[in-house]
C-alpha cells in the first residue's frame, strides 16, 4: 500500500541519473540550436530564416505567458511591457557595453550570432558574451518589474488584474516613447566616466547636455543602431531553456500550486497555498522570460526597437497564441506561436499552395469518404468535417489567390482578414484551444480524440 514511497523513489533517482536527466535536455537544446544556426539557414534561405527567428521569439513569449495565464489562470494583458523592459535594458547594455569595451557599436559576435554568411570570425567572441550577459540582465530587469507590479496587483482578481496589467503596459510604453532627447556623451567621454553620464541625464538641464552620440529611446525611430546579435542559435537556445523551465515547473510542487490556483482558488487557499505569493512567483518567472525575448527581439535583423511596436497590440498577439494553444498547455502555446507567426507570412502569397493541389484534393476525397462512412455507421462526423473544411479552405485559398491575381488583385493584401477568420473558426470549432490543458505528448489527449471519433454520436453530447 506504500504507494507514495514507491513513487518518491521512482521520482528521486540517484545522483548520476539525476544529473544526466537534468543535463541532457540542455545539451540537446544547444545541439538543436547549433544545427539550426549552421544547417537550417542555408537550406531555407534568408527570408524563412528570419521567419524562423520570429517564431522562436514568439514561442518564448507565448510559453512565458502560459505560466501566468495558463498555469495560474490569472489574466495578464501587459506582457509586451516586460518584453519592452528587457529589450531596452539588453539593448542599452550591448550598445554602451560595446562603446566602452570595443570602441564602437558594430556587430562583434562570432559565428553563433552571425546571421550574415561568410564572415571570417571564431565561433564565439567576447561580443557574444556581452550579448548573453545583456539578455540575462534584461530578463532580470523585467522580472524585477514583474515583482513590483505583481505584488500589489495580484491581490486583484479577473478583470481588475487585466486592467492593471494593461495600464502597466501602457505606462511603460508611453514613458519610453517620450524619451526623445539627444542624450549622453562621446566615446572618449563615456570611457572616462561611464556612470557619470547616465547620472547626469537626470541632474543636468537638457540644454547643457553634451551630445555627440545621439541616442533617443522613443520617438519615431526608437532605439536605433543596435547590432544584430540575435541568430537562430541564440533564439532557439532561449526557446529550449524556456520550454525546459516551463515543463519542469509544471511538474514541480510550485507548478502544482500554480495549477491549483487556476482550478479553484478557494480550495487552493484552504490547502494552505499562499495564493498571492505563488501568483507573484509565476508573474516574475514569466516576466523574466519575456525580458529575455525582448532582448532577442531588440537585436534581430530588421527590427527597430520601438515602443510603438510593443504596445498592447503585441500583448494581444501573445494572448492569442496562448489561448489558441490551450490555456495551460506548453506545447500548445509553442505550436500556436509558430502558427500565428507563420500564417500571415504564408497568406502573403498563397498561390504556391496550388503546386501541391493533388495532395489536397486526395486528402479532401479521403476525408469525404470517411465522413460518409462515419455518418452511415452512426459515428461522430464533426471532427472529420472540421478537417475537411480546413483542407478545402487551403485549396480554396490557392485558387482564390490565382483568381485574384488574374483579376489584378493581390490576395495577400487581405491576409489579416483571412487570418482573423481562421482564428474565429478555430474558437468556434475548438474553444478549449489546440490541446486544452494537456500537452501534445499526453496520451490522454489523443485517446480522447480517438474515442470521440470511434464513439457513436450522442444527442447533443460531446465527450470529454
Amino acid at each position: 500500500m506504500s504507494t507514495l514511497r514507491a513513487r518518491a523513489i521512482e521520482l528521486k533517482p540517484g545522483l548520476l541519473p539525476a544529473t544526466v536527466r537534468s543535463v541532457w535536455p540542455l545539451v540537446a537544446g544547444i545541439g538543436i540550436a547549433l544545427t539550426l544556426q549552421f544547417f537550417a539557414k542555408p537550406v531555407i534561405g534568408d527570408f524563412y530564416a528570419k521567419v524562423l527567428l520570429d517564431i522562436g521569439t514568439s514561442i518564448i513569449l507565448a510559453v512565458s505567458l502560459t505560466m501566468v495565464n495558463g498555469f495560474t489562470g490569472q489574466f495578464s494583458i501587459g506582457h509586451a511591457a516586460f518584453m519592452m523592459v528587457g529589450g531596452y535594458v539588453s539593448g542599452g547594455i550591448v550598445y554602451y557595453g560595446s562603446l566602452l569595451l570595443f570602441g564602437d557599436v558594430d556587430m562583434a559576435g562570432g559565428l553563433v550570432s552571425s546571421m550574415i554568411e561568410g564572415r571570417d570570425v571564431p565561433l564565439v567572441t567576447r561580443g557574444d558574451a556581452l550579448f548573453a550577459v545583456s539578455l540575462v540582465a534584461g530578463g532580470l530587469a523585467a522580472a524585477l518589474c514583474g515583482y513590483v507590479v505583481g505584488l500589489p496587483s495580484l491581490r486583484l482578481k479577473g478583470d481588475y488584474l487585466a486592467i492593471v496589467t494593461l495600464g502597466f503596459g501602457e505606462i511603460v510604453r508611453v514613458l519610453i516613447q517620450s524619451q526623445t532627447g539627444d542624450v549622453l556623451y562621446t566615446v572618449e567621454e563615456m570611457k572616462e566616466r561611464p556612470f557619470v553620464g547616465i547620472a547626469q541625464m537626470f541632474t543636468t538641464p537638457s540644454d547643457e547636455w553634451v551630445t555627440p552620440i545621439v541616442l533617443s529611446l522613443g520617438g519615431a525611430l526608437g532605439f536605433s543602431g543596435l547590432p544584430f546579435y540575435s541568430s537562430l542559435f541564440w533564439v532557439f537556445l532561449g526557446v529550449g531553456i524556456t520550454l525546459l523551465v516551463a515543463y519542469r515547473l509544471k511538474e514541480s510542487a510550485t507548478g502544482r500550486a500554480f495549477l491549483s490556483i487556476r482550478e479553484d482558488e478557494i480550495a487552493s487557499e484552504a490547502m494552505g497555498v499562499n495564493t498571492t505569493q505563488f501568483k507573484v512567483r509565476a508573474f516574475v518567472i514569466a516576466a523574466f522570460f519575456a525580458g529575455v525575448a525582448g532582448g532577442l527581439f531588440a537585436h534581430s535583423i530588421g527590427v527597430q526597437l520601438n515602443p510603438g511596436e510593443l504596445g498592447f497590440l503585441k500583448s494581444f498577439d501573445i494572448i492569442i497564441m496562448v489561448v489558441l494553444g490551450g490555456l495551460g498547455s506548453i506545447s500548445g502555446a509553442a505550436i500556436a506561436a509558430a502558427i500565428v507567426t507563420i500564417l500571415p507570412e504564408l497568406l502573403r502569397n498563397p498561390a504556391p499552395l496550388l503546386k501541391v493541389w493533388p495532395v489536397f484534393a486526395g486528402l479532401a476525397a479521403l476525408l469525404l469518404i470517411a465522413t460518409v462512412f462515419a455518418a452511415a455507421t452512426g459515428r461522430r462526423t464533426r471532427p472529420l468535417i472540421a478537417w475537411l473544411c480546413i483542407v478545402l479552405a487551403l485549396l480554396g485559398l490557392g485558387f482564390g489567390a490565382r483568381a485574384a491575381a488574374a483579376a489584378g488583385h493581390n490576395l495577400g493584401d487581405y491576409r489579416m482578414i483571412l487570418f482573423a477568420l481562421a482564428l474565429i473558426l478555430m474558437m468556434i470549432l475548438r474553444p478549449q484551444g489546440l490541446f486544452g490543458v494537456r500537452e501534445i505528448w499526453d496520451r490522454s489527449l489523443w485517446r480522447g480524440i480517438a474515442e470521440s471519433l470511434r464513439a457513436p454520436a450522442k444527442k447533443g453530447g460531446t465527450s470529454r
Binding site: 500550486a257 480550495a267 490547502m271 494552505g272 497555498v273 499562499n274 495551460g328 470529454r464
Partner: protein, 235 residues
Amino acid sequence: MLVIRDLVVNYGAIRALHGISLRVERGRIVTLVGSNGAGKSTTLRAISGIVRAASGSILFEGKPIGRAPPHEIVRLGIVQAPEGRGIFANMTVEENLLLGATMRRDAAGIREDWDRALALFPRLQERLSQSAGTLSGGEQQMLAIARALIARPRLLLLDEPSLGLAPQVCQTIFRIIREINERGTTILLVEQNANAALKVAHHAYVLEVGEIALEGDAKKLAADDNVRKAYLGVH
C-alpha cells in the same frame, strides 16, 4: 480547542453572521446545521481565514487567529474540505492529494498520512493517475476529504460533505467521518442533511439566518420534538 465569540461577518452591505458564538472541544465531532443561507459555510470560511470577520474573535487553542491569512491557519492545523468539493478538476488524483501536503516538509509523516488516507478510501488508490474531474461525485468528495487529511489537520472542517450525493454514498461518507474522528481528529461538520449530521455528531449548533438558534447534545437535539419538526422534516 476552538472558541468563537460574537463573530460578525459581512459580505459588502449584507450581514451574513450576526455575532455567533460556538465552541469545539478536542476529539469531538461538532456539527453546524441549518437551512440555505443560514451562514454555515460563512462560519467555516471565517475560521479558515478566507473571509475576514467584521468583529468578534476566533481562538484556536487559546491563540487568536482572526487576522491570520489562510495559509497560516492551515499551518496551525485547521484544514478545510471546501463546499462543492473544491477539487482541482484538471489535475490528477495524485496531484490533488499532493497539494494536501503543501504546507508540510516532513516526508516521513506525509507518507504515513498518505497511506492512511488511501486506506480509508481504497477507491482513490485505483484512480491515482486519473484526472480528478472524471471521478464520480462521491469519489470527488472522498478525494476532498483525503486531501485534507494529508495536510494532517488537528481540526478538520467539512463543508456539506453529503451535497449532491446518493444516499448510499452519503452513508459511506458519514461512516468514514466517524472513523476519522475515532482516530483522534477533531471535526467541525457543516451540514444541511441535519438527520445524518446529528447521528454522527457529539454536539450540535442550529444556525438560523446568521444566529445560533439552538445548541446542545446532538442526540438530545435529534430527539427534541421542536427540532424534529423544524429541521428534520418529521411531522
